[in-house]
C-alpha cells in the first residue's frame, strides 16, 4: 500500500507546485529577463553537446545500417533511408531528450536545490515573490522554446555524420542522398518536434520539482539531482510510447 501511496503523494505535490508555477507573474519584465537568460543557459549552451553526439550517432547508425542490413536483395538507398527514419523518428527527439535530461535536468535540480538549502528561495518568499513561478516558469518556457532548435541541430548534425561516412568510401554520396530523400514524409519531422515539446516540459518541470522540494544539505541536493535524471528518463520513455502511438 505504501508503495502505491508514495508515488501518488509525490505526484500530488508535483501538481500543487505546478499550480504555483503557472500563476500570474508579479513583474513581467523580470520574468522576461529570466526567460531570455534560461534560453541561453538551457538551450544555447546545450547546442555543442547535441551537435557532437548527433554527429557521431548519425555516423554510427549509417555504418551499422550499411554493414548489417545491406544485402544484394536490398536497394542501395536503404542505408540512407533507414538512417533518416531512425534520426527523425526517435534519435533527434526521444534519445536526444534523454541525453538532455542528464545535462539540463541535473543542472536545474542542483541549481534550484542549492538555492533552497542556502535559503535563497526563503529570501524570495520573504520579499513576497512567488519563488516557484519566478524560478521554474522561465526554465520551462525557455527549454520548450529552445527544444525545436536543438532537435533541428540534432537532425542536421546526424545527417552530417552520415555524410562524413561517405568519405571512407563504404557508401556513395548519391546513394545516401537518394535514401535520405526517398519516400520522405514531412510529418515525421513535425512528430519529432511535437514529441520534444512534451519531453522538454517533463525535463524542466520534473527536475525543478526535485530541486525545489529538497530538504537538508549538499547530500540531498546530489540525491535530488540523481532522482530528477532517473525520473525524467523514465517519464520520457513512458511518454514516448503513448506519443508515438497517438502521432503515428
Amino acid at each position: 500500500m505504501k508503495a502505491l501511496i508514495s508515488p501518488l503523494n509525490t505526484f500530488g505535490r508535483y501538481l500543487l507546485l505546478m499550480g504555483k508555477v503557472f500563476s500570474r507573474p508579479e513583474r513581467f519584465r523580470m520574468y522576461w529577463k529570466q526567460y531570455i537568460k534560461e534560453m541561453g543557459k538551457l538551450g544555447i549552451d546545450s547546442i555543442g553537446i547535441v551537435l557532437m553526439i548527433s554527429f557521431f550517432i548519425g555516423a554510427v547508425i549509417c555504418i551499422q545500417m550499411k554493414m548489417n542490413v545491406s544485402s544484394p536483395w536490398m536497394p542501395r538507398f536503404s542505408t540512407g533511408y533507414t538512417t533518416r527514419e531512425i534520426l527523425l523518428l526517435e534519435f533527434s527527439s526521444s534519445i536526444m531528450c534523454l541525453i538532455l535530461a542528464g545535462k539540463v535536468g541535473s543542472n536545474i535540480a542542483s541549481e534550484i536545490g542549492t538555492m533552497r538549502v542556502t535559503q535563497q528561495i526563503d529570501a524570495l518568499e520573504i520579499m513576497g515573490v512567488n519563488s516557484a513561478s519566478f524560478l521554474i516558469l522561465p526554465k520551462i518556457a525557455g527549454l520548450v522554446t529552445m527544444i525545436p532548435v536543438l532537435v533541428t541541430f540534432s537532425m542536421m548534425a546526424g545527417f552530417g555524420g552520415a555524410y562524413a561516412i561517405c568519405i571512407s568510401g563504404i557508401l556513395t554520396t548519391e546513394d545516401l542522398t537518394y535514401g535520405l530523400q526517398h519516400s520522405f514524409k514531412a510529418w515525421f519531422v513535425w512528430m519529432g518536434y511535437i514529441k520534444s515539446f512534451f519531453f522538454a516540459f517533463i525535463i524542466a518541470s520534473v527536475s525543478a520539482f526535485y530541486g525545489y522540494t529538497v530538504e537538508g544539505g549538499s547530500v540531498e541536493v546530489g540525491k535530488a539531482s540523481t532522482d530528477s535524471v532517473v525520473h525524467c528518463s523514465m517519464l520520457i520513455l513512458f511518454a514516448d510510447i503513448f506519443l508515438t502511438q497517438i502521432l503515428s
Binding site: E26, R27, R29, M30, T114, M115, T118, Q119, Q120, D122, A123, E125, I126, M127, G128, V129, N130
Partner: protein
C-alpha cells in the same frame, strides 16, 4: 509594532512553541535569545510566515498575519526585509543586482532611480566599491552587509535578522550589530533578531525575550540581564566561568 499572542507550533506530536506572547515595538532592536533547539528559529519563521503557527495570533500593526489571504500576505511581505544566517544572496547576480532585485520586482521607479537607490543602500553599508562584485568574491561580513542593503532597499517597516553574526569574528559582529541598530533607529523599523551572540545581547538588546524549551522564560532589556533573577537565563548568558566571575563582580 509586531505583537504575538499565545503562539503555538506543533510538528507531528512535538510541540515546539508553547504559547508565546510578546510585543516588539518599532524603532528598537528586539532580540530573541535561547539555546539551540529552544524554538527561536521556529518562532521567527512563524512570524515571517515561512511556517504557519498551530494556534495564536501574529499582529503587524494590528493586522493579523495568520488569517490573511495569499494576496494580503504578499502585500505585507513587501514591507518586510530579512537578513539570513547565510546572507542568502543570489549567486548569479552582482552585488548591485542583488540590492536592486526587490526594487526591480516591486517598485515603479525608472532604471536610473532604481540604480541610484541601490547605490544609496550600498553606500549606507559602506560597500559602494563592491557593487560590481559577485557574492562569492566577498567575505562573510561583506555578504551580511550586502544582505542588509538588500533588506532595506524598499524601506521596509519590519526587519528580521536570523543570527546575522553567525560565522563572523567578534569585531565584524560588532560592526553588523551597530549597523542593524543604527538602521532600525534611522528608519524607525520594527526589528526582530535571533541571536546567540552575547555581545549583541549586551550591546543592542533594547528588548530581549529569552526562550527555553518553547516557553517564554524571561523578558527585559540589556540593562536588566546581569541582575536578572532567573537561573535559566543566567546559566545561558553567563555560561563560561569567566563570565560568571564577571557577573559576580558586577552584581
Amino acid at each position: 509594532m509586531i505583537e504575538i499572542h499565545t503562539l503555538h507550533k506543533t510538528f507531528a506530536d512535538r510541540e515546539v512553541l508553547k504559547g508565546i506572547t510578546a510585543s516588539f515595538p518599532a524603532g528598537q532592536t528586539n532580540l530573541i535569545i535561547g539555546q539551540s533547539g529552544s524554538g527561536k528559529t521556529v518562532l521567527m519563521k512563524c512570524i515571517v510566515g515561512l511556517l504557519n503557527p498551530t494556534e495564536g495570533e501574529i499582529l503587524y500593526d494590528g493586522r493579523d498575519f495568520v488569517t490573511m489571504n495569499k494576496k494580503e500576505r504578499a502585500l505585507l511581505r513587501r514591507e518586510m526585509g530579512m537578513i539570513f544566517q547565510s546572507a542568502a544572496l543570489f549567486d548569479s547576480m552582482s552585488v548591485l543586482e542583488n540590492v536592486m532585485f526587490p526594487l526591480d520586482m516591486f517598485s515603479s521607479m525608472t532604471l536610473r532611480e532604481r540604480t541610484k537607490r541601490a547605490q544609496q543602500c550600498l553606500d549606507r553599508v559602506n560597500l559602494i566599491d563592491a557593487q560590481s562584485k559577485f557574492p562569492d568574491e566577498l567575505s562573510g561580513g561583506m555578504q551580511k552587509r550586502v544582505a542588509i542593503a538588500r533588506a532595506i532597499a524598499l524601506n521596509p517597516k519590519y526587519l528580521f535578522c536570523d543570527e546575522p553574526n553567525s560565522g563572523l569574528d567578534p569585531k565584524t559582529s560588532l560592526v553588523i550589530d551597530a549597523l542593524i541598530h543604527d538602521i532600525t533607529v534611522e528608519y524607525q523599523m520594527t526589528t526582530i533578531m535571533n541571536t546567540h551572540d552575547m555581545n549583541s545581547v549586551m550591546g543592542i538588546g533594547d528588548s530581549i525575550i529569552f526562550i527555553k524549551e518553547g516557553r517564554q522564560e524571561w523578558t527585559g532589556d540589556k540593562s536588566q540581564v546581569a541582575t536578572a533573577d532567573n537561573q535559566a537565563l543566567t546559566d545561558f548568558i553567563f555560561a563560561s566561568d569567566l563570565l560568571k566571575k564577571a557577573r559576580q563582580a558586577f552584581v
